[in-house]
């Protein structure tokens, strides 16, 4: 009982805890999709096409007789992978750049980095994501031994677009830490600047970064869905929530509502979960809401 | 000595705070009188309830605090339970207040003249031109040079002392009968403190305003007050004219406070302090709340509540006051 209460407290309250639980379940079901999904998401069965939801197909079937529930479960892989890896890229480079700017503070290099980061922050994320994925094409690109799929392109691109925000966030908190008394005390003890940066400053400015990263997961899921929705992201027949919605759109007028309602509900549920989790963590780790900026796509 | 019907009469005021699920009394039965034109000082440590008592008069208590019982009779009307609209008419017009930190107490994005203007136009039937002229006059009165230009200034463009002068001009703009000053000089530099106190004293004499002056600084109280009330743990423990409190304090807490006033002429020893801390407001009090810190306390003090000792113009709540 006490342990549960502590866990709830860690997530910043019941809402954050609920968000964390839903996000955790979604993550598990996407990792274990082969075990969880009742059917093969790619198995075509023309005889069973466009069936309404019933007890054998909980979310119905699509125009090729594929089970929508299984496709929704498998589709979570693309969404979570794109959102997750983009955040990893953004956090890695963002924190590194932010810390580097703090390290060279006081010089022209710091000014140059921060000005350029600020300038690049004025990039509208969604439109650039769509345009750049469009420019680089949706087909797989062979680059040496690597196959660069359109998901990978989207991941890297989104990650790059996340960098300025996270770098500025790190820089602002790191600068405050560097000016604090305990860092001055460490310096008087003869600890080197680089060591202070990594062992004292970095751990102390991670919490706003983690909060922002959680909210960026939600943004990533929406952006992935949007890009796939206009046909530039994950390519059929591989299921993704965005391309399922895009397909479902064609059957809206004829009344096959389940093709668009369920993938959309999955997106909403995931985004709600990450937003609740992010808000909870923010209440817990950054209560003054001083540095993180929440949702902005 | 005291007029039969004072301007402000507080009887048995209780103020409570919500602590978890229950309400806890922080102010526990304060009685207070302020006669018209009189200057009354209210002293005590932080947490003694003096600021809450002050805030309860115009009913601007912080969220989570409420008046749980008692009467606040101002000019013949009980303010407790007065309808919102009737209360609002008295705020600013009859009862005005100045606060500790004039930087945070003035709206940062509105010119100071405009803030005075809005308050004046709320309470008085005064035309636009007349109001502007009056503001200029008021600013000059509180000792601001170039009042016409200063009207357009924003709070951040003024110094701390100037802000407190503006705050005072705002407070007295509608000729209130009572001015409540909640530690008006605590946030200021020592040199500026004296100027602001001098200004306050001059203004209240010129306009004939009664003042309730809240401070933890007995020195200041001695300088401008007629009477002083000492608060401890949510109650007034001693109340008298300034002269008799300083000459013959009856409550040990008052004596200790007096001992803590730094003196230039005294031989240099360690600054005297009162050992211990005031009781937490969420603890149940038995006996005299000051007993644990009192060097004169006996067993009686620790077990039963002390009686109120009275003499014309002087009261103290202590077993040994007589």
């Amino acid at each position: 009982m006490n342990r549960l209460r502590r866990l709830v407290h860690f997530f910043g309250g019941p809402a954050g805890f609920a968000g964390g639980c839903i996000a955790g379940l979604l993550l598990l079901s996407s990792i274990f999709a082969p075990l969880v999904a009742p059917y093969d998401p790619l198995a075509v069965n023309i005889l069973d096409k466009l069936l309404e939801p019933d007890e054998t197909h909980w979310m119905g079937t699509d125009q090729s007789g594929r089970d929508v529930l299984s496709r929704v479960i498998w589709g979570s892989r693309a969404s979570l992978a794109v959102a997750g890896f983009a955040v990893v890229i953004g956090v890695t480079f963002g924190v590194a750049i932010g810390l580097f700017a703090t390290w060279v503070r006081g010089g022209w290099l710091e000014q140059a980095i921060m000005r350029v980061l600020e300038a690049v922050s004025s990039i509208p994320l969604l439109i650039w994501a769509i345009a750049l994925v469009g420019i680089f094409g949706v087909r797989d690109v062979q680059w040496g031994p690597l196959t660069i799929s359109s998901e990978l392109k989207l991941m890297v691109l989104l990650g790059l677009l996340y960098i300025p925000t996270l770098a500025r966030l790190t820089y602002i908190s790191a600068l405050a830490e560097v000016a604090s008394n305990y860092v001055a005390a460490r310096r008087l003890q003869g600890v080197g600047e680089l060591r202070i940066l990594f062992s004292d400053v970095l751990p102390n400015c991670l919490s706003p970064v983690i909060v922002q990263a959680t909210l960026m997961l939600a943004i990533g899921i929406i952006v992935e869905a949007a890009v796939s929705f206009v046909g530039l992201g994950v390519q059929p027949p591989t299921p993704s929530w965005g391309n399922m919605l895009s397909n479902g759109r064609n059957y809206l007028i004829s009344g096959e509502w389940w093709l668009s309602v369920f993938p959309g509900a999955a997106i909403s549920l995931t985004v709600v979960a990450f937003n609740l989790l992010g808000d909870g963590l923010r209440d817990r780790f950054d209560p003054r809401h001083s540095t993180t900026m929440g949702y902005a796509t | 000595m005291m007029p039969a019907d004072p301007l402000l009469r507080i009887d048995g005021l209780h103020i409570s705070f919500k602590a978890g699920q229950q309400w806890r009394d922080v102010v526990r039965g304060v009685d207070l009188r302020v006669a018209a034109g009189e200057v009354v000082g209210l002293v005590g440590e932080s947490g003694s309830g003096k600021s809450l008592t002050a805030l309860s008069i115009p009913q601007v208590l912080p969220p989570g605090a409420r008046i749980s019982s008692g009467r606040i009779v101002f000019d013949g009307t009980d303010l407790v339970g007065l309808p919102r609209k009737a209360m609002n008419e008295r705020r600013g017009r009859d009862i005005a207040m100045i606060f500790q930190d004039p930087l945070t107490a003035l709206n940062p994005v509105i010119p100071v003249g405009r803030q005075i203007y809005d308050s004046m136009r709320t309470h008085q039937a005064i035309g636009h031109k007349a109001a502007l002229a009056r503001i200029e006059e008021l600013l000059a009165l509180v000792g601001i040079r170039h009042p016409r230009e200063r009207m357009r200034a924003y709070p951040h463009e003024l110094s701390g002392g100037m802000r407190q002068r503006v705050m005072t001009a705002l407070a007295v703009s509608s000729n209130p009968k009572l001015l409540i000053a909640d530690e008006p000089t605590t946030a200021l530099d020592v040199t500026v403190q004296a100027q602001v106190i001098g200004m306050l004293d001059r203004i209240r004499r010129e306009l004939g305003i009664a003042v309730l002056f809240i401070s933890h600084n007995l020195d200041l109280i001695a300088e401008i007050c007629d009477r002083v009330c000492v608060m401890y743990a949510g109650k007034v423990v001693e109340s008298s004219s300034v002269e008799s409190v300083f000459a013959a304090p009856r409550h040990p807490y008052t004596r200790q406070l007096l001992r803590c006033i730094p003196r230039l002429d005294a031989d240099t020893g360690p600054m005297p302090t009162i050992p211990g801390l005031p009781p937490r407001f969420d603890s149940d009090l038995v006996g005299c709340p000051f007993a644990p810190r009192c060097d004169e306390a006996s067993d009686r003090c620790r077990t039963s509540e002390p009686p109120t000792w009275r003499e014309p113009g002087h009261l103290a709540v202590c077993w040994d006051a007589a």
């Binding site: 345009a131 420019i135 919605l245 479902g248 | 601007v60």
Partner: protein
Amino acid sequence: MASLFLRRLGFSVFSLLVVSLLLFMLTRSIPESPARIVLGDEATKTQIADFDRQHGLDRPIVVQYAVWLERLVLKGDLGRSFTTGLYMNEQIADTFPVTMELVIVAFVLASIVSVFLGTLSAFYRDSLVDYFARLLAVLGVSIPGFWLALVLILAFAVERDWFPPGGFVPLSAGLGPHLLSIALPCFCLSVFYLAVITRMTRASLLEVLNQDYMRTARASGLGRGRILMYAMRNALLPVVTIAGVSFGHMFGWALIIEQIFNIGGMSRALLTAINQRDYYMVQTVVMVFTIVFVLANLAADMINGWLNPRLAAAAA
């Protein structure tokens, strides 16, 4: 104020320079050259070289950028597509107003409703209005606009006949049909930002209401209207910033919404250009969006400078 304006303007120009250079380099670094796209795979080396020389593609990227920038700044000329030969100014003039109208209507709708709702929610904390506003704020940021659009089309255009399921009726065809055709798109576009701004208004106002100067205002006996004005002048500062950012982002989402409702705005121009591999057009559309985004932020900064004298003072 003037110096704040100049500083922010200077920064906006700098941002646009950096970002446009980045965009220019990205669109020039794609593997397929415009010459190949136009002339086909059978084109000879000399044909390709001729094409490149004609369009100035043989020069270094920085020179190309300088030429492009000079024409844009001095003549307001966005240039011609290498592949289709279309004039960009005409293309933008055809599609931009449609998108702009959707965004402005949605933005005005979102701003008015959200500031109103957020204010009520803060003043009547923990009341029914507050719970409603908070629920709306969580749902609004979580339901993607494009899904909402599909559900609304299903409910109000397919099941019932209240709105057309798509298409854009120009104002020249009558006000009623015009408004009906943009009602659902604007609503879908506004929901997300309505939620964001409501949240921000509520949080900001709650913080302001706890400030000392609001206690002074109450102790001065000011009426409700004045109290509200005193609070809002302070509380609106972060709201304006968020609103400025929102306006820029709405353009991005308008693409998706236009796509669903089959409206021929900038989205059609962009997606057609992507399909035809007309990178010049893509670059132009993205640049226009970025300019709008930067200008919206600049406008928000200016409004804040006017609302908050401390900002103007800090810049002086």
